[in-house]
């Protein structure tokens, strides 16, 4: 006789709200004006890892709204044009959501390739918006120094996908 399968439900608090709050806290901490040996702290786009991981974990109505809120927080906190980072984060979310069936079950290298592609997409979008609004193209070298630490966030996204992907068997 088949035993009843226990449905293990991981709620949005675990895979969405807490990571979002950690991303906010991390952004605030990394904005500390600390200079060591002439170098300052890196400034990655922490919510980009969430924008990549969330649609792979499961499709959700709340996640795009959370990304909108996170993006607005980045814009207000960093004094960026209002709407810049929500648009970039949601573009990444949308692309990964569309390619969800292609990405399901892929190994880490393929996931990283997609993550790198999504990061570059987000930064190209932000670069174009800022160039249009300021009438001045930002430095590519400065862009590189923000893309690099953002790419380094892939282990966080990978860990989240691994941890929460099977958290709810309804979405296997």
């Amino acid at each position: 006789m088949r035993r009843a399968m226990a449905v293990r439900v991981v709620g949005p608090m675990q895979w969405m709200v807490w990571p979002a709050l950690i991303a906010v806290a991390g952004t605030v901490i990394l904005a500390t004006p600390a200079h060591l040996f002439g170098l300052s702290l890196p400034e990655p786009i922490l919510p980009l890892a969430l924008a990549f991981a969330w649609p792979l974990i499961r499709p959700s109505v709340l996640a795009p709204l959370m990304l909108l809120a996170l993006g607005l927080f980045l814009d207000v906190f960093w004094f960026a044009p209002l709407g810049l980072w929500p648009l970039s984060l949601l573009a990444v979310y949308g692309v990964v959501l569309a390619g969800r069936s292609l990405l399901a079950g892929q190994d880490t290298r393929m996931l990283f390739a997609w993550y790198a592609g999504c990061t570059i997409l987000a930064f190209i979008l932000a670069y174009m918006i800022v160039s249009l609004m300021a009438g001045n193209a930002p430095s590519l070298l400065a862009l590189f120094w923000q893309v690099l630490p953002t790419l380094a966030l892939f282990p966080v996204a990978g860990w989240m996908i691994e941890r929460f992907d099977d958290g709810d068997v309804r979405f296997r």
């Binding site: 399968m5 449905v7 605030v28 901490i29 904005a31 500390t32 004006p33 600390a34 200079h35 300052s40 400034e43 649609p55 499961r58 499709p59 959700s60 109505v61 996640a63 795009p64 709204l65 990304l67 909108l68 993006g71 607005l72 927080f73 207000v76 906190f77 960093w78 004094f79 960026a80 044009p81 209002l82 709407g83 810049l84 929500p86 648009l87 949601l90 573009a91 979310y93 949308g94 959501l97 569309a98 969800r100 932000a126 670069y127 918006i129 800022v130 609004m133 300021a134 001045n136 193209a137 930002p138 430095s139 070298l141 400065a142 862009l143 120094w145 923000q146 068997v169 309804r170 979405f171």
Partner: protein
């Protein structure tokens, strides 16, 4: 019934579509926000959302920045203790080099003050300043801004230039009660009118998110060389003239760039110049005063003195008129006499000489 055959299986596809719909709606919201608000640093308007977020972020940033500052001070203390001898030697050499400059500066200041007095120049009065701590910063390619812990309560207004001990840092683009947002000169939307100290050539310092902003609109041959000192020009009236900015250098892309003086150390303490434009500094009464410096040393005359001055002036005028009349009469007399003498000479020439008649 197996679980996969259950009703949840039908939930997957609709949920993906609903999620995609929410993404589209949220993206439309973001685009509308971008078009409606964006980040207009020129208008001087600072939204309530940004002001509120700054007011919350500043104390948090202040708490996080405090240990960093203490660690910096501690490392400075330790370094000062261990490197006291070498630093002493370096400072002595620097002092010996700077002493002639100091004497020259005093002499030039003296001469300059005399010229100003002689020419009656209206020099700008000293600008008031408030000191602030930097509590949070954004450094990416798209934004270069800082939060500082003074605001409208200390007299800070949008547009105030911000400097530190090395040079120009940026200008205030948003101010609330106790917090202000400073747009750094490296920000992609920052433009600062500058001059080259050596040639007085003008250009525009244009930030691009990197540590070394570009120099644009550089005109003329040999107007700029590597190592030239760059100062603010004060054109446009937003920033006072003569604030040190940096040194000109060629970038790796061949464009002219500026190595900023503010890169010499951490920008943790800054000073906000309570300067908005030149009109704010000018006193309208002083503008209506006579141009010569000495002209306003005497008080205006009272009625009695004015009457006396008028009387003296009338007497002088009468005297002058009398003098003119006398000179004219004397001239007329002289002409009359000259005419009479000429007539007498003509008459004498017409009569024959007595000796000729006798012969």
């Amino acid at each position: 019934m197996a679980f996969r055959d259950g009703p949840f299986d039908n939930l997957k596809a609709p949920l993906t579509w609903v999620s995609a719909g929410v993404v589209v709606v949220a993206m439309i919201v973001a685009v509308v926000l971008l078009i409606a608000n964006g980040r207009d640093v020129e208008s001087g308007e600072y939204g309530a959302a940004r002001a509120g977020a700054d007011a919350v972020a500043a104390p948090v940033g202040g708490v996080l920045a405090a240990p960093v500052r203490w660690a910096g001070q501690a490392s400075d203390y330790v370094r000062g203790y261990f490197f006291a001898v070498s630093e002493n030697r370096r400072l002595r050499a620097e002092l010996a080099e700077l002493e002639p400059w100091r004497d020259q500066a005093i002499a030039l200041k003296n001469v300059n003050a005399r010229y100003e007095a002689m020419l009656g120049l209206r020099v700008e009065p000293p600008v008031e300043m408030v000191t602030a701590r930097s509590v949070s910063e954004s450094r990416g390619p798209f934004v270069n801004a800082r939060l500082i812990d003074v605001g409208q309560a200390a007299g800070v207004r949008v547009g105030n230039p911000v400097i530190n001990e090395h040079g120009l840092v940026g200008r205030v683009v948003g101010a609330t009660g106790g917090v202000s947002r400073v747009l750094l000169i490296t920000d992609v939307s920052s433009r600062v009118p500058i001059l080259v100290d050596r040639t007085d050539a003008r250009a525009m310092l244009s930030g691009d998110g990197s540590g070394n902003p570009r120099l644009e609109y550089v005109r003329g041959e040999d107007s700029l060389r590597e190592g030239d000192r760059i100062l603010t020009s004060g054109d446009g009236g937003g920033i006072p003239r003569g604030l040190p900015v940096g040194v000109a250098a060629r970038g790796i892309d061949g464009t002219w760039r500026v190595k900023l003086f503010t890169d010499r150390g951490a920008v943790d303490y800054v000073r906000v110049l309570l300067f908005q434009d030149f009109a704010q500094l000018a006193d309208p009464e002083a503008l209506n005063a006579p141009p010569l410096a000495a002209a306003d040393t005497a008080p205006p005359p009272d009625a009695q003195t004015a009457a006396r001055i008028a009387d003296q002036e009338a007497r002088r005028r009468a005297r002058d008129e009398e003098e003119v009349r006398r000179v004219a009469e004397a001239e007329a007399q002289r002409r009359r006499e000259a005419a009479e003498q000429a007539a007498a000479r003509t008459a004498a020439a017409a009569q024959p000489a007595p000796e000729e008649v006798q012969e």
